[in-house]
Amino acid sequence: MWEYSEKVREYFFNPRNSGPLEEANGVGDVGSIQCGDALRLMLKVNPDTEVIEEARFQTFGCGSAIASSSALTEIVKGMTLDEALKVSNQNIADYLDGLPPEKMHCSVMGREALHAAIANYRGETQTDAHEEGALVCKCFAVDALLIEDVVRANNLNTVEEVTFYTKAGGGCASCHEGIEEILAKVKGERSGPGEVSPPMKPIAPRAAPKLTLVERIRRIEAVLASVRPMLVRDHGDVELVEVQGRNIYVHLKGSCAGCMMEAATLGGIQQKMIESLGELVQVLPASYMPAETSC
């Protein structure tokens, strides 16, 4: 059985705000019976203040789906619609003291229902076609469709690259076979009928013209700038500390610091550095820098 927090169990066994809400003026229906999760969120919004005065839910689903729905109604009650729109699925999960990775989609469904209910109140139509594939990486809750999209959009070829872009495969490694299958599938689509897939890139970089120190630093900074958006998305950042020969020392900041994905992140940056600089380099955390040897 799943390891549910006490709070999830409490909200499942004694759900708050369940049942129909007759005077609702914003209703959001999400999920589907095929997936085994369906949620109707009903809001009573004060038209003058746009404050959510009452929120109720009806849910067909597992323990965490019911708990997430119930938590959502508790969170949004008393909020204005603009405040409610800022509620993320992580807020819902945090409210419940966390959800198992396989169950994070329950909180996503809650946020979607909220957006749908607000859109319904405002007379807007929802066009979001959120799709979810089978869960591939259980450590970081990454599904097959996301991996496929990212592989296609970024022309990825290896499991390491997929890990760097999506985190998938960066934990226990048991999903590497699954990721390889997705890569093979997309690769098959890329080459198309009759075409031969391009030869593998040689691993050793071709001899590149020797760079000046300034050029090297510029390229190193450019690589860091290119990965920064991805790190920032996960509330992290990276900063160049020192370059000593083949060793590039960086400082991982924010949530990147101490993250269990640190090695994968550095590995991914290193791969890009090697490609950009045309030489074999090592990207290391600043803490690995040898103690000052100055005279």
């Binding site: 066994f13 019976i33 949620l39 597992c62 076609a129």
Partner: protein, 402 residues
């Protein structure tokens, strides 16, 4: 309140007599049966007795047809890979869509490796079409592997007939009988079954012990090489305590076979009638005319299985579900989908599996507990109005996006 365990198709409690039988093999009889000295030979003798007891339970002609393995999955894997390696000129496997993952996952992988896999479909009651089966029995088929009884619904397949049909075409036949052994009388010497898998922990022996029955004369290639144990067919030092335990469990299974097919069946039927007479929009899945005596799988429409299990668990009742959420996948049980059970019901299937320890008092407690739980969850469900499903549920609740 004492907990009630109705998940015996998942695993069973080890019988106290079985525990007593195996314990000396951790202490005074610790020897390696391969050794020449007295420590070893005592153990060797105990293994021989265990093998004979298992032979009796399966109705095998020779005790050497019993190969002890580590689990049902190992037995299944050994059987399938052996059939392919022993007959390299053949490239096809016939199985069913409702097999256990031990068979299905391996077949999926073999398909990627280039083998051809035919998966027999089932009808709404989970039954196979023997005409379709007959039409697939051609020269290049290396093996037919069909479960004796389905783990989720208890539906029994006519494996004896199917084995005859395969044998007539010179095709090997394997059956995953993990759920059937100990619950149904089996007499392998009167059948054409070549290989059979079973697992100890489904019949009140410990986990980590299984058997592959291998008919004398059936071509075989071992999965594990590296020793003469099990006549070279499964290398690795024998798990002596567990083999002794499984022998004892086999002996007890023979003793209780009548009870299993009378009293356990009566309690199962009582449970089903008791629940279905109180809960509307619920039905039994599988082939009620041909089922294991201990298994009941009930679909409760418009509610989700994991929620039911959590509420049952709160009252100390253990069962299992075919819902997507209990497995972490997005699809409900492959068995329910294969039978064409609608999604509105497939997510709400609950399997109750009884054992010889189940009492009438326990069954009556479950009959009292289930209806309020279903009512409570239906009250929360957007697919349900006060007394019944909303009209045209799939359309009444049609989310803007899924």
């Amino acid at each position: 309140m004492n907990p009630i365990y109705l998940d015996n198709n998942a695993t069973t409690r080890v019988d106290p007599e079985v525990v007593a039988a195996m314990l000396p093999f951790f202490t005074e009889h610790f020897g390696n049966p391969s050794s020449i000295h007295a420590f070893g030979s005592q153990v060797g003798k105990a293994l021989k007795e265990a093998r004979q007891k298992m032979q009796a339970l399966l109705g095998a002609e020779h005790d050497t047809e019993i190969i002890f393995t580590s689990c049902g999955t190992e037995s299944d894997t050994t059987a399938i890979l052996s059939a392919l390696r022993a007959q390299p000129e053949k490239n096809t496997i016939i199985t069913t869509v409702v097999e256990h993952p031990a068979i299905l996952s391996l077949c999926d992988w073999l398909e990627k490796e280039g083998y051809i896999v035919h998966r027999l479909r089932v009808d709404r009651k989970g039954r196979l079409d023997l005409d379709e089966y007959r039409s697939l029995l051609v020269n290049n088929v290396a093996l037919v592997t069909v479960m004796w009884a389905n783990n989720e619904t208890g539906t029994i397949f006519p494996v004896e007939t199917m084995a005859e049909m395969a044998a007539a075409k010179g095709i090997m036949f394997h059956t995953d009988a993990v759920q059937a052994v100990g619950k149904l009388p089996i007499d392998l010497k009167a059948t054409k079954i070549d290989m059979l898998s079973l697992s100890g922990h489904k019949l009140h022996a410990p986990k980590g012990i299984g058997v592959l029955y291998l008919r004398r004369g059936c071509r075989f290639r071992p999965l594990l090489r590296g020793g003469h144990q099990e006549r070279g067919r499964r290398a690795g030092t024998e798990n002596a305590p567990s083999i002794v335990a499984l022998g004892k469990a086999a002996e007890l299974a023979i003793e209780h076979m009548h009870h299993e097919n009378t009293e356990v069946r009566r309690l199962r039927d009582r449970l089903e009638q008791g629940i279905l007479s109180q809960v509307t929009h619920a039905f039994i899945t599988g082939d009620t005319a041909s089922r294991l005596p201990n298994t009941s799988n009930i679909a409760f429409e418009y509610v989700e299985g994991e929620s039911i299990l959590l509420l049952l668990n709160k009252q100390g009742i253990a069962a299992s579900s075919g819902s997507a959420c209990t497995s972490g996948s997005l699809e409900p049980s492959h068995v329910m989908r294969a039978m064409g059970i609608p999604y509105t019901a497939a997510h709400g299937t609950i399997r109750f599996s009884l054992s010889r320890y189940t009492t009438e008092e326990e069954i009556d407690r479950v009959i009292a507990a289930v209806p309020p739980i279903i009512a409570q969850l239906r009250e929360l469900s957007p697919y349900w109005n006060e007394n019944g499903p909303v009209e045209n549920p799939e359309r009444a609740f049609a989310p803007a996006y899924a």
